[in-house]
Symmetry: D2
Subunit: 456 residues, 4 copies
Amino acid sequence: MGSFSSFRDMLDAIAERGRRLLGTSQNPKQRVAMEEIVLQCEHLLSSRGEASGLALAQDILSAWKELDDEEQPRFMRELLTRFGADDARIENAIEMYRSDRSPENLAALHEAAEPKRQELIRRLNAAPDGTRSLVRMREKLLGLLKSEPELKAVDSDFQHLFASWFNRGFLQLRSIDWTTPAHILEKIIRYEAVHAINDWNELRSRLAPADRRCFAFFHPQLSDDPLIFVEVALTRSTPDNIGDLLDETRAPLKPGEANTAVFYSISNCQDGLRGISFGNFLIKQVVEELRREHPALETFVTLSPVPGFARWLKSAEDEENTLELSRLRDHLSSADWHRNAEIITEASPLLQRAAAHYFLTARAAGGRLIDPVARFHLGNGARLERLNFPGDVSARGLRESHGLMVNYLYKLDDIERNHEAYAERGEVVASPEVRKWLAAGSTGKTSSRTQEKLNA
Amino acid sequence: MGSFSSFRDMLDAIAERGRRLLGTSQNPKQRVAMEEIVLQCEHLLSSRGEASGLALAQDILSAWKELDDEEQPRFMRELLTRFGADDARIENAIEMYRSDRSPENLAALHEAAEPKRQELIRRLNAAPDGTRSLVRMREKLLGLLKSEPELKAVDSDFQHLFASWFNRGFLQLRSIDWTTPAHILEKIIRYEAVHAINDWNELRSRLAPADRRCFAFFHPQLSDDPLIFVEVALTRSTPDNIGDLLDETRAPLKPGEANTAVFYSISNCQDGLRGISFGNFLIKQVVEELRREHPALETFVTLSPVPGFARWLKSAEDEENTLELSRLRDHLSSADWHRNAEIITEASPLLQRAAAHYFLTARAAGGRLIDPVARFHLGNGARLERLNFPGDVSARGLRESHGLMVNYLYKLDDIERNHEAYAERGEVVASPEVRKWLAAGSTGKTSSRTQEKLNA
Amino acid sequence: MGSFSSFRDMLDAIAERGRRLLGTSQNPKQRVAMEEIVLQCEHLLSSRGEASGLALAQDILSAWKELDDEEQPRFMRELLTRFGADDARIENAIEMYRSDRSPENLAALHEAAEPKRQELIRRLNAAPDGTRSLVRMREKLLGLLKSEPELKAVDSDFQHLFASWFNRGFLQLRSIDWTTPAHILEKIIRYEAVHAINDWNELRSRLAPADRRCFAFFHPQLSDDPLIFVEVALTRSTPDNIGDLLDETRAPLKPGEANTAVFYSISNCQDGLRGISFGNFLIKQVVEELRREHPALETFVTLSPVPGFARWLKSAEDEENTLELSRLRDHLSSADWHRNAEIITEASPLLQRAAAHYFLTARAAGGRLIDPVARFHLGNGARLERLNFPGDVSARGLRESHGLMVNYLYKLDDIERNHEAYAERGEVVASPEVRKWLAAGSTGKTSSRTQEKLNA
Amino acid sequence: MGSFSSFRDMLDAIAERGRRLLGTSQNPKQRVAMEEIVLQCEHLLSSRGEASGLALAQDILSAWKELDDEEQPRFMRELLTRFGADDARIENAIEMYRSDRSPENLAALHEAAEPKRQELIRRLNAAPDGTRSLVRMREKLLGLLKSEPELKAVDSDFQHLFASWFNRGFLQLRSIDWTTPAHILEKIIRYEAVHAINDWNELRSRLAPADRRCFAFFHPQLSDDPLIFVEVALTRSTPDNIGDLLDETRAPLKPGEANTAVFYSISNCQDGLRGISFGNFLIKQVVEELRREHPALETFVTLSPVPGFARWLKSAEDEENTLELSRLRDHLSSADWHRNAEIITEASPLLQRAAAHYFLTARAAGGRLIDPVARFHLGNGARLERLNFPGDVSARGLRESHGLMVNYLYKLDDIERNHEAYAERGEVVASPEVRKWLAAGSTGKTSSRTQEKLNA
């Protein structure tokens, strides 16, 4: 008993019949005027035939891709204005509802208030590979929001439907390793967003060793295209810098020797699914999977970048030029400071104290945490465990965070409590080691661990 | 790269953590008072924790199953009354919308008008095996609608969400044959709704021969439980009775010898998914699959029961006791008439004329076709091709349709046009052979084909 | 990347080309004279063409199946006489070897002494489904050996080649359960040789409950046709009768509750593979698999029939009519004695003492153990652990062993030592409980365990 | 129903038990003296225990890998001298056989004449991953044969057993493409022996385009390690040079547009399986597979290197310095001649005539064809179809064949006849176009096709 691989082929065949009925022929590369596409959308919304509906949906999606950078926004504005709700129908439903607050009248009101583009998007989704095309369409839409914020109403319809179609019951967790098909692996290379994978040899060193794992979520309608993936290192302790962790010359641990799982890179793959949350659940599911495979694992922790730190520090210096910040700035502006043990020793306490403020007291306008990675992990119920300086001396690490990395700790029994503290009261749960920097004066002393690293 | 089979296990593990947080323990067989379950539902709606949400959802679904036949309807009424919309919020949204018909205000109105139970059902769906439990819940709900029609509002929320979750992009067509796992085959035996399969030997004769096929739709969240399936016979001509078709002693055709595919049994498997349409698409997809596998197939046709015919004929006799109907009744009330060639010869034209009226002119209150099987196939775009008398002399066939069976023809190039004729204008597309019975007087002549059968 | 299912089709296609070259056409059902087949065999041995070789092999195997019960033995005798070795070549090789005992000359002698039928069988094996046909051919051959013992030389060539083709590196252990495809399950029903499975419901009760397992060996060239399988019950103690074990009304244990795995039925499926040993390795591999899945399992034991006991007891009585045997005979000849607790109580010690002699001291001509099941398990390194009376009161159980069953214990750390004791010194390793019956006089006392059962 | 992946693990577990029995412990990296390994081999041959046998086999194979370059040959010599046959037993068997030429005595002689090392190799094969280790061992052995030709007797035992274990019934044809797991693809890169694949991008261009295919044979006991693979280009005509064929910038044909399948690279992967023939069958099976997938394919042809040509031409010049050869030599010794259209035009007929002699009349000592690629394809039944000059201007192509490439044509209906002509009479089947060069005088004219290429 096998599932047929040719589902797409069949949709194509049915759409082709529909196209004959419509008296049209598919020519995906042919340019169609934007106005024509809008008419096809209206036709699709009123159509009752299945095959012709499929054909229309396919043609609309194909033609939309060929629109140029002026027409695509115009199409979106048409979605906003022409595919909203029917005022008269809403008014009627309001009157009915007010006269009798029955469930039927409520349902009628609810239905009347649904923008027509929701149904349009649903019907487009039936086309062969429709979901993939709609994800791409939303990717473009998101790019327009800054300049045309009124399109947010269109986006919220996309988001509403995507949240339903990508609900987590449909997400499939798969292990990615060196036995994974190449056409998927090349996507891992392409989508890796944190620590770039430069070629297949580097990829191999991330996936093949016995102490490395990778997991991704897939969705049935975007098969072979991961939604999000996490790279994991199995280690004997919580790592404090990415260089050692990714060192290709290290001797891999044997399975069973590791007691710590380190999530060192999490990459979202589909820009068009922004705001549809998978990462939260990915980490929890991977934790459960790793615990099952490796009962000896005790600690689940990240080694994470701090992408907003350098920019925040700059603005903090601008606002409030303390002596300490000024000394820190001097250190960090020396050429190649990260190769100079003396500077590191002196900068370390200054930088860590600044970082503690960044995480624990500084807030963006609106009151939320500045750092997006921190928001993600703290929102998931992790604890800010340790500041690592210097943790990432790559060009990007130096530019974005002056080399700082942090560990977030996923302690299973505390996750839910931490999550609630953060979600409901905005509390950042942090280890005493991190907290103490808030209190500490400028001691000029580096931590014993940093000292060890410098001596090593 | 493998998909983990233990997704359910992981959900269970996460729910178990949530349960520890809630300070509860799962005991699925323990009776929980209906009111308590309602409180848990409210808790679930307001909860923000993921693990505790999973635990609550799982506990609610488990406890609901243990409610007795009085409590389950009461729970449904609570869904209707306590989990509707918030009047004040709606009024507020109405005011806002009237003051400014912006997309945002429309969206706010739409959201406010959504009954809270929709979000509740969504959250219950996240529980391990939640979808399956909700399908069972709706099955119960549908059974209540006759006595408590106001629950239709609750059902329409279920239906709205199921239509999204079971949209056809998620349906997987699989071939069912004698190499299919036994735990799925036993469901085929159980769900067969048209021509009962009495044991595994009969099942084998439906699936194993080279001239038999079976296809089913599956859904990722109800894995191993088919949604709908169709049984197909490959033949050399359009069959006119089910007995010969299912005769286990016939010599099977070799692949390639057949030119006709006969859909002789279509069974919906999940009562809780009533109204969510799959059958339409199933037949089209199976036609494409069969054409791909067997390019020699030219004709796609059903051999279908006429389940409403006998009851309609009875009521027609009661209303309008013509001589002809009275003669027909006399024939059909003879004991064992179907073994008497003389009676059959005489009854045949009478019965076929009555049947032509049943399909072509008779209508139920509300104007729709009486016969549910006819509604299904004509709605799919098939044509009523031929009346077969006697086509099914099983006890059920005699009881429901006086032995009548019909063929519906799926002619690919006409499907869409037929569908539209039926859907938009209520037209029944029928072959001239069927139509002529409307015009014909009582000739007392049987068709040459029936004559052949009698002589055979 | 997939393995093609159409390997057979390709062989067929290539053979078909060969057949065109040979100017013949395949007609598998046509009778071909035995002498003609022998000529084809000689042609096959001298042929160098691949396609024509395939075609010849296929034709020979097809034609052979159509030979009647007189011709098949005649063909085998031709294999014996016409496809032996070439005397002159052997003599030449002997001379060469004696003149120079070089490795080359040894190899030449070895090759010259190989009967030509070995190469013939190898070439027949290349035909589509050749292995399966040769297994069937040997099945027939084995049936001839009693009346034509000189054919043993032909059989030893089959056996030599089969041992190589079915070497254990190729055997695939698969779990058989209720999700196994039906076409394999129907073979389990057919091949079950110990406790018959009467229908699919009984099969389900053997495979589906959580405390039942079944494992089979498969071979790549006999795919979907098991070679041997073992049925396993997971229990809380060593069972003493088959009736309770197979009771369909019992409450299944949950996984994890069991501490004992009981091998209660082992069936060889292919008569044509007699003497090619798989069972030995099957049990060891299943033990390892079960230990991995269920770490709580401590005891691995059989519940086994004693198929040779009743016949031996009869012959023992004939030879040596002691008072005790005479009393035992009297008990066992009462009608329905197995329903009479008093008789059981009295017969039990007599029968167990007789059984102890049967296993521990009695031997067949040639000195080997009489009981084939005992030979199998003791040869595998198991220990004769317990006598169970009455353990099997089915008609077969009463007829073959007067209701006696035994347990053989597989204690992993002793298996190798037990095996060597048996294989090298013919020692039967038995528990003290069994051994004591050798010493015991006729006490007339039944064991406390039997007593418990009778009281129960 | 799944096949367990842990077969190796189980063998390991059983071997571990055996090791405990033997009182040894595995330490694969520890050096063991060669003499000790020989003793273990003798122990293995006499052992009857299964677990201890597995442990011994595993230890022997592990220890053998650690032997150094002096000890491995010494071990092989021990195999030759200490694991041959037992002279006394042979003499005895000879006497028995001469006294009575019965099948039993023949079998006894055959068995006595089998070198003991065959049984030793069989037992080593039972170790976890034993087959793979033995293939590696033979690889080393083959490297020794030149300096120690007497070891050929040992090799012939390996070869005899490998021919049985790798018989084609066990070979699995799999398609290799861009969805193939990476750990297999990296082996394709490594094993490609004809036109090197330099990195993953080149690999992609060989596998991913719609007009490229690749097929490999696998064996169950060397899973994930191909035995041999062939790369195929689908084209619109028979190609005459490798550069255009592999040009990554070409526009790929759509499936269905091609009418020609070109086998342009065939690579054996396992040196230790030299002489075990798969390639013959690979091409036939791939042809059948391609025909099934692409019914429009009409021509199956190779584009092949001529690796022995340059060396032969050199020796031919040395022997017989004709004016023509001397002119050819002058042309080919010009720097960068392959970029000079004039030289190519003049050299072309000279070189093609020389090539015709190389293929059609020149023979190696022993009378066989000089070119190994020609031996392979002609032995398979292909026809030498066309000489292509220049066909390969890579460094290697220039060095080995002065840029010459050839096409061998696989015409299905002629394969068997061609094969027999070659195998039985040594005839090289060549097209008239090739043959005519034998007759032609030195015309100084280039073929019209070459002219076209030069003008292009």
